[in-house]
Amino acid sequence: MATLALKNLAIGDLKNIDLHVKPGEIVCLSGTSGSGKSRLLRAIADLDLHTGNVQLGDTHQNDVPGNRWRSAVMLVPAESAWWHDTVGEHFSERVDETLQQLGLEADAFSWPVARLSSGEKQRLALARALSRKPAALLLDEPTANLDKDSTERVERWLLDIIRQQQLPTLWVAHHEDQIARVADRHFHIVDSGIEQQELTQ
């Protein structure tokens, strides 16, 4: 149960980013392409050089080795590039229930990843990331390759886990209606900073 806090974070064109994401809270982030949404997430995951302060609870980014930080503050990219050969190899135990909740078939556990569609791969990436028990989530357009039904199914699954495990979550989203469905707060990238937006209900 820890708050994810950004203080005076700067990367690329973005400057002086201050943001507190409370446990179990979903903060949506939007912005035109190239505005730096993904780079901001990469900085929080400590994948790129940046200045400023990021902390999870009392732990500063630099207090723990990079790999420990990233297994706690888990970034799921818009498209994953690294896969094992079969679906099952990504998990240390059977996750049939998870796969079912994500709308994948029950026997998907033994499927070769090469057979999956891009939408199925995206769901596998989410399941893999969550199976590593992170303490905070950074989601970069987690439903970009999904149809409407799968999108809502994945949203429900994510909301359940985020609320239940009290994960502070930064969620990069494009669609207004998705933001309305999942966001507790919504920020839009304007010039070199972020600006809070009204939530439409």
Partner: protein, 266 residues
């Protein structure tokens, strides 16, 4: 056994063959005639000079001259490792890694072989030390250069894969592991092939040279086996060090992939 003396005019006959080849490529507009002639001229000049240097070195035979020559050869080899890389590490790191690896793969192995195996008296006798070092430098250089080239190129090309693994909480070395393995394999494959094919597909150059120069084949073979083993060991250890140091340098203290430390050759 006597070696048949080679006169300069006999070499000139061999040179005529190269000139004839150059003339043919020129007529066929293959566009390699000029570089062929330049390379042939360089060979003649460079080897003649080295011959003079070696003659002088053999007659002096003192440790510091042998050491100076050895270090000069080592630095040149370090530079050669970097010369044809597609990507190099900024800040002279590639040259440093190249020279360090060549020191281990060739310099250390040569000294070890001289002291522990061949044991001439004194151990640095230039007639043994310099050719041995030269063989090791020349042959292990390929492996070290290939492995470095493979590692930096896969880091550049497979950035998304490596960073995806980092995002899942893996350490830098875990995220790079498959590319490290690839790089080691790329470095060691030539010498493994050479050892497997030696005597069947090809007669190794050193052995052939010794036999031409009058050494009994059985003894030449022993020297060739010795050389093959030292090249294999040198290439292995040199490649190992090169890949380990380069892999470390591709990440920073926060285990971020730092491709900004690579410079593409133009």
């Amino acid at each position: 056994m006597n070696v048949i003396e080679l006169a300069w005019w006999q070499l000139a006959l061999a040179a005529l063959l190269v000139i004839a080849l150059a003339a043919c490529t020129f007529l066929a507009r293959l566009g390699v005639g000029k570089s062929l002639l330049i390379a042939a001229t360089r060979t003649a000049i460079q080897l003649t000079l080295v011959g003079l240097v070696l003659e002088a070195l053999f007659s002096v035979g003192s440790l510091h001259w042998v050491a100076l020559m050895g270090i000069g050869m080592l630095l040149l080899a370090g530079r050669e490792v970097v010369a044809r890389q597609k990507y190099t590490l900024r800040g002279g790191w590639s040259f440093g890694i190249g020279t360090l690896s060549m020191f281990i793969s060739a310099f250390a192995v040569t000294v070890l072989t001289l002291v522990a195996v061949i044991s001439p008296s004194p151990w640095y006798t230039p007639q043994y030390a310099i050719p041995l070092l030269g063989m090791l430098l020349g042959n292990t250089m390929t492996g070290v250069a290939l492995s470095l080239d493979r590692l930096t190129e896969s880091a550049q090309r497979s950035r998304a894969v490596i960073e995806n693994r980092l995002m899942l909480g893996e350490t830098a070395q875990q995220a790079l592991s498959e590319f490290r393995r690839d790089a080691m394999r790329a470095g060691l494959t030539p010498i493994i092939n050479a050892m497997a094919a030696a005597g069947i597909v090809s007669l190794p150059g050193m052995m052939t040279g010794q036999i031409l120069a009058g050494t009994a084949p059985a003894l030449a073979v022993k020297y060739q086996i010795l050389i093959m083993f030292t090249i294999a060991a040198g290439t292995g250890f040199g490649t190992f060090v090169a890949v380990a140091v380069c892999a470390r340098r591709l990440f920073d203290g926060r285990e971020r992939l730092r491709l900004d430390r690579l410079r593409g050759s133009s």
